[in-house]
């Protein structure tokens, strides 16, 4: 075969950064193209639909604020997931960990009786711990008993969902609004302030951005980050090198669950101001964050970009839902498609095409 073609295709061990970006963009374009077919099937011009999404999510200051509001929980959950996925711990449970963070924040905000100045910090702490605890259960079950992490984290999502339902229908049901399954409203001191002129809390956004940097340093510049990667890529080598795998798994899930918990605090203190049904609190942030982390190729810094991208999709999804009457579930179809094309195209990254004249 050598010399027959003007270029040659070789397998390569580590894909180049440019190739990763190119292939990721191709995957997104392919998903957008298939989704365009769906719009067409609904009798909506894809050009018009995409135009509405982009204009709705990015075209005005308010649209942009809405995009950022949706991107914030995705950022927090996504950064945590990149760390879990690096250790090949399949945390599918960010959704439940987020909900537990929301529950803890509501509990502290409504019932702790702490002085005003301490209330918000205590809510953040409690949210982190609750999310981390919810994540540590599957971590312990995997580290100690070898239980499948996908299943345990997923099952815990359902348990968290019904826990929230129970609280808002039962013991925490509010007295301010009769007939609704909400808790009472949090006091004003337990609420986050907004970016001026918007309804987008700035603290959780800043926290997410800062944590993305911290996580990036952790995974690329520290021994701990190196150990996480070895445990994920080669457990045998990790054992041989004396890396404590149990400790590593617990650590990644402490961080991953905790960050999802913080996202839950943000939704309570920054967006809703009360605990309500899980579908309203989260809208699948924990699941979408899986794609956010995967699209970022498990790089915490890249999550800033990918979470923003999905913020656009979610905010734009609201726009086409209200102005074109299209079902919101189209977003899930689109998310599934992107994930598929993303992993399907990974095979491309394992090869290098080079012109035979030049050698690099």
């Amino acid at each position: 075969m050598k010399g027959l073609l003007p270029f040659k295709v070789e397998r390569r061990a580590v894909p180049s950064g440019g190739m990763v970006l190119l292939v990721s963009l191709l995957a997104i374009v392919a998903a957008l193209a298939v989704a365009a077919g769906l719009f067409q099937a609904y009798g909506v011009s894809p050009v018009r639909a995409y135009g509405l999404i982009v204009r709705g999510a990015l075209g005005s200051p308010l649209g942009l604020a809405e995009t950022v509001r949706r991107a914030t929980p995705l950022l927090l959950c996504g950064v945590g997931l990149t760390i879990a996925f690096r250790a090949l711990f399949w945390n599918i449970g960010a959704e439940g960990q987020l909900l537990l963070g929301a529950v803890a924040a509501t509990g502290v905000g409504l019932f702790s009786g702490l002085p005003d100045a301490l209330l918000l910090p205590a809510m953040f702490l409690a949210g982190f711990l609750a999310g981390a605890a919810w994540g540590l259960v599957p971590a312990i079950l995997k580290a100690k008993l070898g239980l499948n992490d996908v299943i345990t984290t997923l099952m815990m999502n359902y348990v968290a969902m019904y826990l929230v339902e129970w609280l808002i229908h039962g013991p925490w049901k509010g007295t301010q609004m009769r007939g609704f399954a909400y808790t009472d409203k949090l006091p004003d001191v337990a609420r986050l302030s907004f970016i001026p002129g918007t309804r987008t809390p700035w603290l959780t956004l800043a926290l997410g951005l800062a944590l993305a940097f911290v996580a990036y340093i952790l995974v690329t510049r520290t021994r701990q980050g190196f150990e996480i990667r070895v445990v994920g890529e080669n457990p045998d080598a990790a054992r041989f090198a004396g890396i404590n795998q149990v400790k590593t798994i617990l650590l990644v899930m402490l961080v991953s669950g905790g960050l999802a918990g913080l996202a839950g605090v943000g939704e309570i203190a920054g967006v809703h101001g009360m605990l309500r049904s899980s579908g309203q609190i989260s809208m699948g942030y924990g699941y979408t964050a899986i794609i956010v982390a995967w699209l970022a190729r498990r790089n915490p810094l890249a999550v800033i970009a990918t979470s923003l991208f999905f913020g656009v999709i979610m905010a734009g999804g609201d726009v086409i839902k209200s102005s074109l009457g299209l079902p919101f579930q189209l977003i899930n179809v689109f998310n599934g498609l992107i994930l598929f094309f993303l992993i399907g195209s990974e095979v491309l990254m394992r090869y290098r095409v080079s012109w035979s004249g030049r050698r690099r």
Binding site: G146, T152, N335
Partner: protein
């Protein structure tokens, strides 16, 4: 309510609820035995559920609905097979995206079908004579449908194929050691494609059973995590169809018994119980720490490329 009626009601509902779990589990056992983990069961099931409902409503024939469910479930599984076997993509992520796709697509397509009852549900059968047997008669031979019996028949059949035939040896060898199977002339990719397809069709039928027989109507997201419970049951069953039968009906029995706690426990907490049970079931069969679980196919989750292991 006398104890007899109570036992009969509980067992009959166990049989009815356990059937879709068993169907899905049998399918996933075949896929995983060949080395392909398919976490898309939930997505294939919900697509099967919707297709069965739509086709049965349109044609007026519930069996055509079941057929459609099998075909759609199978078609969905082939997407996963293509990604994992041909493109050698990550099986966990591919399965997850299949589930998202299925939940989303069925939600989009099913919008206009929501809340309508199915005029032609699968007929209930009463076996004359046998239904007169005390307790077992009313449980097994009264008010169940043909799909329940077919599923029960499938268990010995799939067990026999897996453990007593050449085909079964081939499937298991592909899941344990694809390199050796390949060197013996087995077409690893083809075996895996077929097993994933069987798994997809059974998951589709499991979904179809829900909308055509169990609760003849369509609601968005009505599988409510059953597909994930199937994956837990597959592990619980040690990848053995006979154990799958035990696991699925045991789980279904616990599910119904937990609802008997209604006077004492809040309904929301009762609804959380099946998911907690699933974790508990896995804890019960867990062996050892990070080492390979007993009975898991050695090559489960690993793509196969000739000459590369």
């Amino acid at each position: 309510m006398g104890w007899e009626t109570w036992v009969i009601a509980t067992l009959a509902r166990t049989l009815a609820y356990g059937t879709p779990l068993l169907l899905g589990t049998l399918g996933e056992i075949y896929a995983e035995r060949s080395g392909v983990l398919n976490l898309g069961v939930e997505g294939m099931m919900i697509m099967g559920a919707f297709s069965a409902f739509a086709v049965a409503s349109t044609t007026g024939n519930p069996w055509l609905g079941i057929l459609a469910a099998a075909l759609v479930g199978g078609a969905f599984s082939l997407v996963h097979a293509f990604a994992c076997i041909t493109l050698k993509a990550n099986q966990v992520v591919s399965g997850l995206s299949l589930t998202m796709l299925g939940l989303g697509l069925s939600g989009v397509l099913g919008r206009g079908w929501e809340g309508k009852p199915l005029p032609v549900p699968l007929g209930e059968i009463t076996v004359p004579g046998l239904s007169a047997i005390p307790i077992l008669g009313p449980v097994l031979f009264q008010g169940q449908n043909l799909l329940v019996y077919l599923t029960l028949l499938l268990v010995p059949l799939l067990w026999f194929v897996l453990y007593r035939t050449r085909t079964g040896i081939t499937i298991r060898s592909v899941g344990e050691n694809p390199g050796t199977a390949d060197s013996l002339g087995v077409n690893v990719a083809r075996v895996r494609y077929l097993c994933v397809l069987v798994g997809g069709m059974l998951a589709g039928v499991a979904g179809g059973y829900l909308t055509v027989a169990y609760r003849p109507s369509w609601t968005e997201g009505m599988t409510a995590g059953m597909g994930w419970i199937v994956i837990a049951l597959t592990i619980f069953a040690f990848w053995n169809p006979a154990m799958g039968l035990v696991g699925a009906y045991l789980f279904a029995a616990l599910y119904h018994l937990s609802f008997r706690l209604q006077p004492w426990v809040a309904p929301e907490l009762l609804r959380a119980m099946p998911y907690a049970f699933a974790i508990l079931a896995l804890v019960l069969v867990a062996r050892g720490t990070l080492h390979k679980r007993m009975g898991a196919p050695a090559a489960l989750g690993l793509p196969y490329t000739r000459g590369e292991e």
